[in-house]
């Protein structure tokens, strides 16, 4: 059972890496700026999931705080970028 758990964590890590690569493709290709912001937002979320999975992989609870910080920073950066796209300035 432990081996199956390990294999499923490996599968989840690999598919999250695949998701990060797909987000990177959209980030590089995106025709408009809002596509790039959307790809960046999804990239933050995928990296947060990746850090959570690393925490499960190493069996440590410390990774949870890194994931929480990544989620916070991703939200703030998405809001700032979306506000910038809307008006051309962040704080009016």
């Amino acid at each position: 059972m432990k081996l199956a758990l390990e294999i499923s964590i490996y599968i989840a890590l690999i598919s999250t890496m695949l998701a990060i690569v797909l987000c990177g493709i959209r980030l590089l290709r995106g025709p408009t700026s809002q596509d790039r912001v959307l790809a960046l937002d999804t990239l933050w979320m995928c990296i947060m999931i990746f850090v959570l999975l690393l925490g499960m992989f190493f069996g440590s609870l410390i990774y949870f705080e890194i994931a929480l910080l990544i989620a916070l920073t991703g939200f703030v950066s998405t809001m700032a970028l979306a506000k910038f796209l809307m008006r051309g300035e962040i704080i009016e």
Binding site: L38, T42, L52, M56, G59, A71, M86
Partner: protein, 113 residues
């Protein structure tokens, strides 16, 4: 590779495996939607699945795994769940509004030419 202090029961392992496989499938499907869909207004629906369902199932798997390995209730992952579920609609709404404003400005520029 996984450092477990004590073995986890079979039902917990099966639940963790189920939620991990579900979450990884949903994450790949959501980002595939981000790459494959045609328009920005269609494309914003793909990552929504990744953010809500994918994150949720991975967090549930993490909660079950740590609760069964540490032999106490480890539910501080609920903090991330609450935060992500509160902020994902806000970010989507801001991006959507920015896209609508930019599209309208582009249209006005095209008409004035």
């Amino acid at each position: 590779m996984i450092n477990m202090a004590n073995d986890i029961p079979a039902w917990a392992a099966i639940l963790v495996i189920f939620f991990l496989l579900l979450g990884s499938f949903i994450i790949v499907v959501g980002t595939l939607g981000l790459v494959r869909l045609g328009d920005f207004y269609q494309r914003i629906h793909g990552p929504a699945i990744t953010i809500t369902l994918g994150t949720g199932s991975v967090l549930i798997a993490s909660m079950i795994l740590f609760s069964s390995t540490h032999e106490r209730l480890v539910i501080h992952e609920l903090l991330i769940t609450a935060f992500v579920f509160l902020t994902a609609p806000l970010g989507a709404m801001m991006m959507m509004r920015a896209a609508v404003y930019r599209g309208r400005r582009q249209q006005q520029r095209d008409e004035s030419k």
